[in-house]
Every structure is written in C-alpha cells, then in structure tokens.
Amino acid sequence: MKIAQKSIKTYLFALLALLSLTLQAKEPANSHDAGEVDTKEEVKDYIVHHLKDSHDFHLFSYTSDGQRKHVGFPLPVIVWSSEGLVTFMSSEFHHDDNGHVIVEKGGLKFTKIHSKIYELEEGAAEVAFDADHHATNAHKVLDLSITKSVFGVLLVGLLMFLGFSSLAKQYKKKQVPTGFGRVLEPLVLYVRDEIARPNIGEKHYRRFTGYLLTVFFFIWILNLLGLTPLGFNVTGQLAVTACLAIFTLIIYTASGNKDYWGHVLWMPGVPVFVKPVLAIIELAGHFLIKPFSLLVRLFANISAGHIVVMSLIAIMFTLKSELTVVGATGLSLVLSFFITLIEVLVAFLQAYIFTMLSALFIGMAVEEHDHH
C-alpha cells in the first residue's frame, strides 16, 4: 500500500514536470503584449497582474529571436454563458489579456480582459472600450474555470488528503506514527490542544476540530505555496478568503445555542431601552464584523506580503541606474530574503489567527453560561 502511494506521488510529480516541458514546445510564441519588465510602470502592472487569478499556469518567460516566449501550461476554461456551459483550453487566448484575441465556441465569442472572461454581444466582431477602458459591447460571464487558484486548491487538497489519510492509516497498525506522520501528528495535536480545545471548551470541541484542522492546514499550505516561485496567490483572492469566512459564519450561526442568541438579541442585565440598540450592534457583529475581520485580514496580509516581496525583488530593475547593477541586485536580494523569512512566519501566523478566531467565534456561540 505504502509503495503504491509512493509511486502515485512520484508519477504525479513526473506528470507535472512532463506537462510543463511538453507544453513549452506546443505553446506558440506569438504573443507580444507582455514584454520584458523593466520600468516602474511595468513592475507595477506585473505585480497587479500577479495578484489576480490567471487562466493559465505560467512559470517563466524569455525572449528569443525577438519574440517573447512563455513556459507553462494552459488550464481549462469553463464558463456559464448565455447559451449554457462552454469549455475550452486557456491556450486559445494565446496569452492575450487585453481583449484582442476572440475565441469562438458554440456560436459565442469570448475574450479575456485583465484576467476576466467576457462574452461578446451578438454581432460584435471585436471588443470596443470606453474612455475608462471598460468593455462596452461585452459582459462578464460566470467563470467556473480551473484557474491557477483552483489548481492550487486542488493541489493542496490532494496533498492534504494523501498526507493525512496516510497518517490515519498508520494508527491502525501502531500507536506512534513514523516517517512524515511524525511531523504531521504534532501539528494536528497543536491545532486540537492550542486552538480548538481552549477556545471552544472541553465539551464541544470535538465537533468542530475537523473543520478547524482542515481550514488551518488549507490556509497554511496555500500561504506557503504562495511563497514558492510557482507564483500562486490563492489566499490573496477575495473569493477564497470570503468563502472561508462564510464557512465559519455558517458554522457559528448554526451552532449558536439559546444562551448565545439570547445575548445577541435581548442582552440580559441592561436597561430595556438599550437592548434594541445592543441587538443591532450584536447582529452586525455576528453577520458582518466577524466574517469581514476574517476575510479582510487574511486577504490583506497575504496580498501585502506578495506586493512587498515582489517590490523588493523589483529593486533590481528600478534602482539599477542609481546603485549600479551589482548594488541594486545585492540590496534587493538582502531585503527580499529577510522579508521572505518574515513571510514564512506570516504564512503560519495568518493560518493560526484565522483558525484561532474561527474557534473563538464558535466557542462564543456554543458557550454555556451559568444561570444567574
């Protein structure tokens, strides 16, 4: 069984490597829009572009024979258009991100502008833009594509499933896990004993530990993945953090006991005329402030981290003329090295804070008050 699992992992990595290599040859090198990154504006655009989700997995680019070549692999595009579900590979956009390339599928025309897929209106041959660079004859479609972020989520999900189900299997045979399980076990214990148990309480913590463990490792691994040169930015996507925050909201709303709702809606021990005011504040806290604090904190911290690291790397180009090539590169390396170290810490810290606060909110909802 173990051997089988190992070979599955090896195959997976081999497949990934092979995919990126083979697709390098397939990828037509006829895109010119994303040229070299050199000036401050280009750096800024590059960073903004990186922070967004993308429809293909781009590893790196280089210029050869005066042409810009991209190495990576395309991901499937799945959109819910006016005619229903439409799928095609993102390679059909040929790395265009400004609405120049139109893809025709099932009688509908699609184009990609700033990482968003637009469906052109009937009869339009190409996208027309207004003064603010908004498309006037195309509208956004519900984009269910396997984007880079979705790919990251799938990858992390797969890794988590393989890692933790193998740990679970180890317990069937022995009391103390060996190998990688020995690394995972203290982490699981940490989440259970330092996050779930103290915040939710001895009586109820078992019901929620599964969710907290999933969320903790999900965020942590994705944060760390964001620091690799693969260029993931999953936990810096508002949709992802919002989804996580809403999961927590649903859980603590559903598990809130009578005591909790009593305190939210009709606070005991205060004068009657204060009670409705407090109820409004408590309800706002329950449905808006708590989830927003979760989703904005994670999103902002991770985005900020990515912006800072990339800006520091960009010192190499932006301060080239002032500090000479060697000086700018040295400064950039030193600064980005230390910031990356801090980001490794932040990756853990944000996962911890998100899980901790989720546990705290759940704990508040299930807490049993002494009756005074």
């Binding site: 967004k52 989700d53 959109v79 819910w80 968003k116 519900l142 984009d143 269910l144 594509s145 396997i146 984007t147 972020s149 979705v150 989520v153 799938l154 999900g157 988590m160 499933f161 933790f164 189900s165 740990l167 679970a168 299997k169 317990y171 069937k172 009391q175 076990e185 699981v188 214990l189 259970r192 078992r206 530990t209 599964g210 969710y211 463990l213 999933t214 999900f218 996507q237 508002l238 949709a239 992802v240 919002a242 989804c243 996580l244 809403i246 999961f247």
Partner: protein, 166 residues
C-alpha cells in the same frame, strides 16, 4: 474598493465553496476522525497506564508499611518471649537450688540424728558390756579373795577400815 469588488470572482467563489466542502467532507471522513479517535485512545491508554502505575506504587507502599509493622511486632514478641524464658530459667535454677539445699540439710540432720542414736546405743552397749565385764571381774576377784579365810578377814578389816575413814 471598486477594484476590489471587480477583482472578486463569483465563479472562483462557487468553485472554492464546492472544493472546500468536498475537502472538509473527505478529510473528516478519512483523516480527522480516525486520527483524532486514535489519538484519544492513545491518550486514554497512557493515562490509564499512569494511573495503574500510581496505584501499584501506592499498593507497594502499603505492603511495605504492613511488612514493617509485622516485623516490628514479631521483634517485640521475640523480645518478650526471650525475657519470659530468661525469667523462667532463673526461677527454675533458684527453685532447684533451694530444694537441693533443703534436701541436703534434711539429709544431714537425719544423718546426724542417726549418728547420735547409734552413738547412744553404742555407749549403752559399751556401758552394759563394761558393767558385766566389771561384774565378771569382780566376781572372779571376789571368788579368788574369798577362797581363803585369811583373805576374807583381811578384806573385812580393810573395808571396816575404809568405813571408819569415811
């Protein structure tokens, strides 16, 4: 704010929701539940083992205390037994001595008494023997003396002489 909202992708939100639900479900079923159950079992096992060890230690201590007490009692009992035996020995010895002394005294007394009576008897016998012997002698002497008339007269004379002297 507008850019943020523009960047928010509803499609990604939907996909992420589905994937996260699936992930939570799969992990809870295949990983967290078995892991947490085994961890709890293991912890309970460790706790039980510790409790058992603690109990065994306590029992051991109790046993030791019991042993100590028994030993002390046994020692005390031996002491008293030895003391009693010694007393008894002394008493037996002294009794025996006294009795022996008394017996010896009695024997001596009896012996002395026997010696005395034997002595008396011997004396009496001696006396009678001496008396009879003296009578025999006197008889023989008297016989010899009185066989001759002169002699009888001389005797009477001497006796009359003695009597006048008195």
């Amino acid at each position: 704010m507008e850019t943020l909202l523009n960047d928010f992708s509803p499609g990604l939100f939907i996909v992420q929701t589905i994937l996260l639900l699936g992930l939570i479900f799969l992990l809870v079923k295949f990983a967290w539940k078995p892991i947490l159950t085994s961890l709890n079992e293991r912890e309970e096992g460790i706790q039980n083992a510790l409790d058992a060890a603690e109990n065994a230690k306590k029992e051991m201590e109790n046993l030791n205390a019991d042993n100590e007490r028994l030993l002390k009692e046994a020692r005390a009992e031996r002491e008293t037994m030895l003391k009693e035996a010694r007393e008894m020995k002394d008493k037996i010895i002294s009794d025996a001595t006294e009795e022996a002394n008394a017996k010896a005294g009695k024997l001596i007394e009896q012996a002395q008494a026997a010696i005395e009576t034997e002595k008396k008897a011997a004396m009496a016998e001696l006396k009678t023997h001496v008396a009879s012997l003296s009578i025999d002698i006197a008889e023989k002497v008297v016989k010899g003396e009185l066989s001759d008339k002169k002699k009888q007269l001389a005797l009477v004379d001497s006796m009359i002489g003695d009597a006048t002297l008195n």
